[in-house]
């Protein structure tokens, strides 16, 4: 699959060669650690992915992936001084699990936006290391605690299958225990 993705990246004229190389490196890291996750969705999105600069008033982090428009938005001021590998991996996880206008175990109504960011950061930290003064520290702590209540497998399956309902259901079932 990595070879397929490499070919796909090469066809995308919106992305520079340097960025293609960076993305491929991160995708390889992900694939080596999550061999059971299908990358077909990612492959499809890479065909038309656009990377563009966005206003600092709209993008508060170094970069952010918009699943609806399939754009990777860069806050240039923050991006130039950040751990780019970390934030690109965070965005890449959004591309891998993207569905319509959300990703991971979030949904159209943004019901689980905070937990979703926490879980995305946990995976990002495991793959490429944490950053100092991580903006999502509070979400990471809460996601870790909730995974103890509902089970790590539940969280993992929900994230890679865009299943917000199973998270909420599991939280309700575990309440009071």
């Amino acid at each position: 699959m990595i070879e397929t993705i490499k070919t796909t990246l090469n066809t995308n004229e919106n992305i520079t060669d340097e960025v293609k190389e960076n993305l491929l490196e991160l995708i390889t890291i992900f694939n080596n650690n999550f061999k059971d996750i299908d990358l077909a969705n990612l492959n499809e999105r890479l065909k038309t992915l656009i990377i563009k600069r966005e206003s600092m008033f709209l993008v508060k982090l170094p970069c952010k992936y918009n699943p609806y428009t399939n754009e990777l938005l860069i806050n240039l001021g923050l991006f130039e001084n950040c751990d780019a590998k970390h934030w690109l991996m965070h965005a890449l996880l959004g591309m891998i699990t993207a569905k319509e206008n959300y990703y991971g175990f979030n949904n159209e109504e943004n019901t689980l936006v905070a937990l979703n960011e926490g879980y995305t950061e946990i995976i990002t930290n495991n793959l490429v290391g944490d950053v100092e003064n991580n903006f999502f520290t509070d979400e990471i702590i809460m996601t870790n605690l909730i995974s103890k209540a509902i089970g790590e497998d539940t969280m993992y399956n929900a994230y890679f299958n865009n299943d917000s309902k199973s998270i909420v259901r599991a939280m309700i079932e575990a309440e009071g225990k």
Binding site: K60, N110, T111, L112, V113, A114, L115, E117, N133, F135, T137, D138, E139, I141, M142, N144, L145, I146, K148, A149, V168, M171, I172, A174, E175, G176, K177
Partner: protein, 94 residues
């Protein structure tokens, strides 16, 4: 269900407020979690981050230290209550 929904909404609101640069109290959320899931509070106390050092040094203030202390006491109470409840269940079973 309502308590869970409120808990989730509070987490989302905190994130939104932090994006806007507004103050938040994450220790309140950890207390809420402990009330909803007391056995996790009892078994996995180490996962609660109740150390002022987890805040960047230049943002630590007296309010955070007070909030941490209140959260620590409440979570300890919940943990002790849950441990007592489990001990009583085991005694009855015996």
């Amino acid at each position: 269900m309502e308590k869970i929904q409120k808990f989730i909404d509070d987490l989302n609101n905190d994130l939104e407020n932090r994006k806007r640069g507004l103050p938040t109290n994450p220790f309140e959320k950890q207390k809420s979690f402990a009330r909803l899931y007391p056995s996790v509070a009892a078994k996995h106390t180490e996962y609660f981050c109740l150390n002022e050092n987890y805040y960047p040094e230049n943002t630590r203030n007296t309010i955070d230290v007070q909030n941490i202390e209140v959260a620590r006491m409440e979570i300890e109470e919940i943990k002790n209550a849950n441990t007592y409840k489990q001990d009583m269940s085991m005694q009855k079973a015996a």
